[in-house]
């Protein structure tokens, strides 16, 4: 069943406004998505009707807030097929989730001479925490290279797993620049056979396709609520035996069981990792986002985005001066990064902005990947449930304008 995009747009109040007098064409959901009424309403309901701090109060309102907060955690767990809601840790964003693992698990388990394997297509969020951990520990950092076609060169992995020094492989489930979906299930199986864990960055995948952390064989997965119609909150999922064994990341209230003058004991997971007052309304809002997306259907969303990206690649192929990074429409997520001969991506974005079209321009937090393709920057259009072919047509028309104005 195709998505009723017109009806979906009605659910997003932001599409009622104009940008520079033009219809808003929002093609930057890979950076952060827009918010539907269901999520905005959930935030309103928490703050106007059910707000109090969670896990502490002995009064009805606090119990109600706690219930809403924990219900949302359970919804989020079901959304990614986590076996237990206690494996779902609420954090600030995917970046914080990966940092939690790099500090808590990493400080305990990575030693001098160990190896951490990344891929060349990682977002800085799944790169810099590991790079810095390796530097602190004297560990080796190795990268699975990206081919010219934008795919991982998986032949590079077995030699990195042979000597048993690799302790963790950090890999994105979908590249935020290329739209490539690395074979994470295969990578996880290979890593596990060599005794290594796998940290999956799900920031670009979880909002756009059905997610099953167990089927993928992930040990940890981080993703961001704000990229999936939710508020600014992130999720770290981890296998419970790993989370149980890990020391806390942040210390303070709520994460303790008991505190004495000279020592403290930690609360159970996930609370051990949720120090201080959590983002209560935001987590409830993410629960509402999960309901909203589930009602549309994650399979339908994935199919819709595949159709749009195929259409976009076909239309962009009409422009001989435009070059697209990454693989073809098959197995490509809803992002298309491109560059135009002789025109800086920032100038492309500025001209598109005048037409009400929002695209990202820059390195999209993937500098090593751009370096690999010999580029300082690119422009990126990314698609979500509220995008349709008319947005692609608007983009192509405006790209003609870019070249008319800025071309020689």
């Amino acid at each position: 069943m195709p998505l009723d995009v017109a009806a979906i747009r009605q659910e997003f109040p932001i599409f009622e406004r104009k940008i520079h007098g033009k219809r808003l064409v929002f093609l930057d959901s890979a950076a952060s998505s827009q918010k539907p009424r269901a999520v905005i309403g959930a935030l309103m309901r928490v703050y106007t009707h059910s707000y109090a701090n969670v896990h502490r109060g002995l009064y009805a309102l606090a119990e109600e807030a706690t219930e809403m907060y924990e219900d949302a955690r359970a919804k989020i767990a079901r959304f990614i097929n986590a076996p237990d809601p206690a494996e779902v840790v609420n954090v600030r964003n995917a970046t914080e989730g990966i940092n939690l693992v790099a500090y808590s698990w990493g400080e305990t388990n990575i030693h001098a001479g160990d190896r951490i394997v990344l891929t060349e297509l990682e977002h800085h969020a799944n790169l810099v925490p590991w790079q810095q951990l390796a530097l602190r520990k004297g560990a080796e950092l190795a990268y699975i290279p990206v081919t010219e076609a934008g795919q991982l060169d998986l032949a590079a992995l077995p030699p990195l797993l042979e000597d048993g020094r690799t302790k963790i492989v950090a890999c994105s489930v979908m590249s935020n620049v290329l739209g490539t979906s690395p074979p994470v299930t295969q990578i996880a199986a290979m890593a596990h056979a060599a005794g290594a864990l796998v940290m999956m960055d799900g920031a670009q995948a979880v909002p756009h396709r059905p997610m099953d952390v167990q089927a993928l064989g992930a040990d940890f997965m981080a993703f961001s609520g704000h990229k999936m119609c939710g508020p600014g909150v992130g999720i770290l999922w981890g296998r419970s035996e790993l989370l149980e064994a890990m020391p806390p990341f942040l210390y303070g209230g709520d994460m303790i069981r008991t505190v004495k003058r000279d020592y403290a004991k930690w609360n159970e997971v996930p609370y051990k990792f949720e120090a201080g007052t959590p983002p209560i309304a935001e987590v409830v809002g993410l629960g509402a986002a999960v309901d909203f997306l589930s009602e549309i259907g994650m399979d339908a969303i994935h199919t819709h985005e595949q159709a749009i990206v195929a259409y976009a690649l076909a239309r962009l192929a009409e422009l001989p001066w435009l070059h697209v990074l990454g693989p073809g429409p098959y197995e490509r997520g809803g992002v298309v990064s491109f560059w135009v001969d002789g025109i800086h991506p920032h100038d492309i974005a500025s001209v598109l902005d005048e037409e009400g079209i929002c695209v990202r321009a820059g390195h999209h937090c993937a500098q090593p990947l751009h370096e690999r393709f010999g580029l300082a920057a690119s422009a990126r259009a990314s698609f979500y449930i509220y995008n349709d072919k008319d947005d692609v047509d608007a983009l192509v028309d405006a790209l003609h304008k870019v070249v008319r104005i800025l071309g020689r």
Partner: protein, 127 residues
């Protein structure tokens, strides 16, 4: 087909920059880049006995805003003293660029030549 930002004047400077090149025996010689977007400028300048800027040239690569700003900047600062350069800021650059109004995201591009010149004067001991 027109653009508020990319007016003729800026595009002229972008396509046919003034003072494009490198000065020999320069008193100020500085390279600066903006790694997040790949803009790069190499500025060279001659100063007279009183410390006034007599000649400036630039070379580099980048977006329309950084390159047009650089071209117009090299024209505008001849005759200025280092202290005058150090007092310059975004409003001066926007005025030099014909009163263009820059969005927050483009300010860094426009300020590249000014920041490079300030740094170059410092490194040359003129500030």
């Amino acid at each position: 087909m027109s653009s508020d930002l990319y007016r003729e004047q800026l595009l002229d400077h972008y396509h046919n920059p003034e003072n494009f090149g490198v000065l020999d025996n320069a008193d100020v010689d500085i390279e600066m880049d903006n790694p997040t977007c790949g803009d790069m400028i190499h500025l060279t300048a001659h100063l007279d006995a009183e410390g006034r800027i007599t000649e400036v040239m630039f070379e580099g690569q980048g977006c329309v805003i950084s390159m047009a700003s650089s071209s117009m900047f090299t024209e505008a600062i001849v005759g200025k003293k280092p202290e005058e350069i150090s007092r310059m800021g975004l409003p001066d650059i926007q005025e030099i660029m014909g009163g263009v109004r820059l969005s927050m995201g483009r300010v860094k591009c426009a300020l590249l030549p000014l920041n490079a010149m300030k740094q170059g004067l410092k490194e040359a001991g003129k500030l």
